[in-house]
Amino acid sequence: MIYQFCIFDRGGMVLWMGKFEQLTKVSGSPMDLLVRSVLLEDRAGATNFACRDYLMEWKFANEYGLIFAVLYSRIYKAHYAGQLLENVKTEFLSQYGETIKGGNYDKLDLSPFSSTFRIIWKRVEAASNAKPQEATPVEQRKVVKPITETPVLAKPIGRTDQAQPVIEKKEQPFSFGNDAPTAPDAQAPRASQKMTKDDLLKKIMARKNKGKSNEPQSAAPEAPVKREKTKRLPSENKSITKAAMGALDHSTGGAEDEEEQQVERVRQQFMEAPASDYDLIPADESELNDDTVAEVQDDSKVMSFFKGLAGIKELTKEDLAPALQKLQDQLVGKNVAVNIAEQLCNSVGASLEGIKPGSFSSVSRLVRSAMTDALTRLLTPKQSIDILSQAKSVKKNEKRPFVVVFCGVNGVGKSTSLAKVCFYLQQQGLVVHLAACDTFRSGAVEQLRTHARCLKAELHEQGYNKDAASVAKYAITTAAKSNADVVLIDTAGRMQDNEPLMRSLAKLISVNSPDRIFFVGEALVGNDAVDQLTKFDSAISTLAPPQSVPRHVDGIILTKFDTIDDKVGAAVSMVYATGQPIVFVGVGQTYMDLRKVNSKALVNALLK
């Protein structure tokens, strides 16, 4: 069942639109959402996009700068949507293509196209009904339902030929082997990638099911949960007296001298050591890169000049494939997660297919400049990452402290990053309080206390084995009473697959509704980056207690950024996975080693 069909240009003007059915439960326009979440986020390499009960498919006519999109019901699928798009595109371009190429089509009256569309639609529908439709299981259609409020895209798994009408694809029995590219040399490395993607898909599907059936999970999955909990606690804890606990708990006393020494040591390490003079790329080098970018732009001008003179063949998928493959390898070499690199390349490929290159520009150059644009667009934050003015504004307008939660897997540097952010905010004259909500790993509270002493920030802690959510709650209330500006909450490191711990993080967040949730990740991480981040993100929103407002990761802090040289791929993977910006990067040991990143410098490092 088709709800809407829309033809629009890249400038945003809708040339023609057909609305056939009323949409339910959708606020705003799904087409708007398609542009925002798919086309602008460089996810156009995917096959389709889900918005509530609807699915959307689209097709580019790049030589005309047009996009054709169709919206249909997820339940009563229009199996002929791909064919319909193809036929409408052909018919539309044969009728109006020349006018549109002429450029001035703003006042073109396209209402007569409505009847043409109906005829094409009827014809395609009839043809598809004539053929026996094979039931296509969800997995074959490669649709991933949005797990969270921000739509998650269908992953373009195994899709190698976009130009091929979708309907044809469906008739083939689905298998990864069948789908392999024709080039035999590319087959070997691809096969292994596909396996990981297959796994990923399965994981996503599994998680989706989990998210769906929230409560009635019964005893079976509950048992291992409990086991795990007890396993992770020190075994003596089972039968300890309060006194024994006090003795164990160094956080509430202990040898003062020893602690003083420790504070002194940390102070030396974090404050008095020379700050890192880290920079992503030396100045002269980045300028060099700048020149090449300018050159490419000039080139395109010459190109467009000569384009009219020489009849140059439109680019096909096959022309682009080698250049894209090369670029993909390069991105993977820079530590971009494999599936992300592939999705990006698919998207860039889709946006170039069908355009006519100039005689002077090689395909690889064209692909490279399109990728530069796409990456710059991706890495430039769309929202503000200025937490300082946000904190001030919250304090001023709402008279309460600004609350930030730091989360991430074990050992990535959450506490250190928290201390750096604390130092930065203190430098700007804000009163910062810390909350030690890592009530789990022994030594965590002491670590944070040492930082707090060095920074002369007030620390709220209640020792170990307490409920992290209530520790945070208490800290925020106390901080509000003492008129603090900011509360930074340190949480326990947890692996993304550890459901009980993720549940407790979700609880902490829903109870305390922080202003910002920062995900702390290592810049060294490769393919796991996406898994970590997407699982944290979905856990925060899906594992939260019912009737709480779903939350998401609001920003990313990348640590150990000075150790990776130009392998900055994790930044791309993480930003692509959630669409959230990189707020800070950590570039050294001292409190001063906190930086923002320049998106252009990142892109240069990636495509160097």
């Binding site: 326009s29 708007d32 396209l110 001008k301 430039t380 769309k382 923002k596």
Partner: protein, 252 residues
């Protein structure tokens, strides 16, 4: 035979040189400030767009596209005749902030679009973009004129001046003043944190940013050296006289 071949070769050479000259002439014009930019934040969904593309279409066609608009993916550009002179007007998509930086060097006038009906909720984002625009190297130095156009004045009931926010000494009528006060307040905050922001990794080649206003004083728009005009209107209702006036002044 030989003669005609060499003659052709010569002709071809001349043609190439002429073409090159034309190209260079065209290329050198590129760096000049020859365009009016329409800048602003991106919308937040249906009917919540600020109206940048709509303004361009209105200027170009004196009407809105029949089937409406979606967020722009690329810069929209059109040649518009003002007082008999053609002017290039460019609409910079709010969703693609990376495009703005390069285009600012071409701006001879900037139309900054604000949705006055939603200024309360989005003043922060508006101010952030405005701060970026103003502090870019040469915009203040070269005193590029700017029109802050408060769109959707037909929906203005929702943004009446709020007494509790201290907007008492409004000198002019209309929503321009409310917008001005909201933006000033946010710019003050953004300015202080922009100065104190952490360093940028890889930012060595970044353009030097200017300080907005005077360091000792609370920010006011009067501190900006550029000619700033606040005006309100409604693109959808065809009420864009201030824009046309601004364009005429800028191109004159």
């Amino acid at each position: 035979m030989d003669l005609s071949t060499s003659g052709f070769a010569l002709l071809a050479l001349v043609a190439v040189i002429v073409l090159l000259l034309i190209y260079i002439a065209a290329g050198s014009g590129k760096s000049k400030r020859n365009a009016i930019l329409i800048v602003g934040r991106s919308g937040t969904g249906e009917n919540k767009s600020v109206g940048k593309t709509a303004l361009l279409k209105q200027l170009k066609n004196s009407e809105q596209p029949k089937y409406g608009l979606l967020p722009s993916l690329v810069v929209n550009s059109a040649e518009i005749t003002v007082n008999g002179k053609p002017v290039r007007v460019m609409d910079v998509p709010g969703m693609v902030p990376s495009l703005l930086e390069d285009l600012l060097d071409r701006a001879k006038g900037i139309i900054f679009m604000v949705d006055s009906s939603e200024i309360r909720d989005h003043a922060r984002r508006d101010a952030e973009i405005l701060h970026d625009v103003l502090t870019q190297g040469s915009i203040m130095k070269e005193k590029i004129p700017m029109l802050i156009f408060c769109n959707k004045s037909d929906l203005i009931a929702s943004s009446s001046p709020d007494v509790s926010l201290g907007i008492r000494d409004l000198r002019r009528e209309g929503c321009g003043d409310a917008v001005k006060t909201y933006l000033e307040r946010e710019l003050q905050l953004i300015r202080s944190s922009a100065v104190n922001a952490v360093e940028t990794a890889g930012g060595t080649k970044q353009k030097q940013k200017e300080f907005l206003g005077f360091e000792e004083e609370v920010f006011r728009f009067e501190h900006v050296p550029n000619k700033l005009t606040f005006a309100s209107g409604s693109v959808i209702k065809g009420n864009i006289d201030p824009v046309q006036k601004f364009m005429a002044e800028t191109t004159a």
